[in-house]
């Protein structure tokens, strides 16, 4: 689903991403970890077709990140903590907007919308402004909207920041459920326990991938009990 070889990004003298290589299989939950400033966001921007690499190769859903960025954008879903939905549009308007932007036909949008509202128990809130929803509900709705057009891959950028611990876990159950349906999930997070939900995890340090394996293997490799300790070991050097 995602193939990356020697991918780099330089800004003048500064190398933000330094020849990273990895692959992500269909239906895998891939955790992309690293300290702030390690290069995660820059790497994600290259994979989502928003930034042109300086070097290396990558394909996302089979499309080339240099020459087929528009095709990539159509095939992926995206959700971040910083921006997800329009607060001053209603729940229904947001769903219709994003469906339309991704080229869904009006009839399909209508069919799927009722299904989505039912699943999230938001039917009676469909005409409420998204801004009036509690944060946890917003996050769950934003995730569902990112999957609305049935993308093969979804990119989640710190999707559970600040949310209460129960909602955080409900959110991860939604991720599990999506992965079970064959959707590939690429997620970044600062919660190290969430790293444990992933099939495979990579940790970026200063633009390079310092470690990459399943959480269980990484813990064994570093002889520690938790991903938190793996991270501290690596990032502190």
């Amino acid at each position: 689903m995602i193939q990356v070889e020697g991918l780099s990004k330089r800004f003048g003298d500064f190398t933000a991403v330094n020849a990273i290589s990895f692959s992500v299989k269909k239906g895998e939950i891939f955790g992309f970890l690293g300290a702030n400033g390690a290069g995660k966001t820059t790497a994600m921007r290259m994979l989502t077709g928003l930034s042109r690499p300086s070097d290396g190769n990558a394909t996302v859903a089979g499309y080339d990140v240099y020459t087929q960025t528009e095709a990539i954008k159509r095939r992926i879903g995206y959700m971040s903590q910083k921006f997800s939905l329009y607060e001053d549009l209603t729940v229904r308007e947001n769903i219709a907007l994003f469906g339309g932007v991704y080229g869904m036909k009006r009839r399909r949008i209508k069919e799927k919308m009722d299904e989505l509202l039912g699943q999230l128990q938001l039917m009676d809130k469909r005409n409420h402004l998204v801004g009036s929803l509690p944060l946890g509900w917003k996050q769950k709705l934003a995730f569902s909207v990112s999957l609305f057009h049935e993308p093969e891959i979804v990119f989640l950028d710190e999707p559970t920041g600040g949310v209460d611990p129960i909602t955080r876990r409900q959110f991860w159950e939604m991720i599990y459920e999506a992965a079970h349906r064959g959707i590939t999930v690429f997620v970044t997070t600062h919660y190290m326990d969430e790293a444990e939900y992933c099939d495979k995890v990579s940790i970026m340090v200063a633009g390079k991938i310092a470690a990459m394996d399943s959480p269980q293997q990484l813990k064994q490799q570093f002889e520690v009990d938790s991903m938190d300790d793996v991270f501290v070991n690596l990032a502190r050097g």
Binding site: P165, I166, E177, D193
Partner: protein, 303 residues
């Protein structure tokens, strides 16, 4: 005299009840944590205590001074680090520090010993503009500026939010050293694992306090049987246990899932149920609740 005393504080923003009847007191020299997710009311409470917001009801005192009537005096005695980076992005590190020292009527040199351990790490960058610092460095600068006038009480509103796990640990180590110097510290965080680093904590959710105690005290109060369970398929494990009639709650917790049962159940019985459902490599152990387990159990029912 208690550094902070809060009595029946309430605050609403039009329809939204941000704080409901909050009462709390901090002891001198305490490192006190306000633990709760976004929207719990932490920032509203901090703004009231730092005299930036007037409560609708109740009273609060900082260093014995009333937050409404004596706001000017309080502002001189406290250090405050708000949730978002609030320093001057286009002034250098050095200029920011000098600015805050000056407006508090002191000099950088006078209380330098207090911030030395923190500032030393960003001193090599002192001529860099604050806006160009990394997240971890901004935090250290903001903390230095909040301490430069040697406040008696320090208010830190989510100082570690959005920061990576290593910087978070380092920050809490700095707080421990400050506490040793006798400063009372009230810090808020959504990270439950940071709760155990405080002397006492208040768990707050949707404007109400769920519990106040030492971290150990909160855990000791938890009286339900809790099991950590691991199988090869975490998602299926959760679905299967959710259907089980002996389950009170089941949640993922990393590699393990945490099961709370309606009453004490032998581990073998849980194992039998899971094997019958087709699970492999089943590992079960009964264990003590963490702060996060307690918080989730105390939370009012979520949708």
């Amino acid at each position: 005299m208690k550094p902070v005393e809060i009595q029946h504080i309430s605050k609403s923003y039009s329809q939204l009840r941000a704080l409901s009847d909050i009462s709390l007191a901090i002891e001198p020299g305490e490192l006190f944590g306000l633990i709760g997710p976004d929207g719990a009311g932490k920032t509203s409470l901090f703004r009231i205590l730092t005299t930036l917001l007037i409560p609708d009801g109740g009273e609060a005192k900082v260093m014995g001074l009333d937050v409404v009537k004596d706001y000017k005096m309080i502002r001189r005695k406290i250090g405050y680090m708000p949730g978002r980076f609030s320093l001057y992005q286009d002034l250098t590190v050095e200029e920011n520090l000098q600015f805050f020292a000056t407006i508090f009527g002191t000099t950088v040199r006078e209380n330098y010993d207090l911030i030395e351990g923190i500032y030393a790490q960003i001193e090599p960058f002192k001529k860099r503009r604050a806006g160009q610092l990394s997240g971890g460095m901004k935090q250290k600068l903001a903390l230095s500026c909040a301490l430069i006038h040697k406040p008696e009480v320090l208010f830190l509103d989510e100082p570690t939010t959005g920061v990576d796990a290593v910087s978070r640990k380092e920050f809490w180590e700095m707080l421990q050293r400050l506490k040793e110097k006798g400063i009372s510290i009230l810090v808020s965080t959504p990270y439950m694992d940071e709760a155990s680093l405080c002397d006492r904590i208040a768990l707050i959710q949707a404007g109400t306090i769920l519990s106040v105690d030492s971290p150990n005290g909160i855990v000791e109060q938890f009286d339900k049987p809790l099991y950590a369970i691991r199988t090869t398929d975490t998602y299926q494990l959760i679905l299967d246990l959710r259907e089980w009639q002996l389950t009170h709650s089941i949640f993922p917790f990393g590699e393990y899932a945490h099961l709370i049962t309606t009453h004490q159940v032998p581990v073998e019985e849980i194992k039998t149920y899971l094997i019958q459902k087709g699970h492999e490599q089943v590992v079960i152990r009964q264990q003590k609740a963490s702060i996060e387990d307690c918080f989730m159990d105390l939370m009012p029912a979520v949708a």
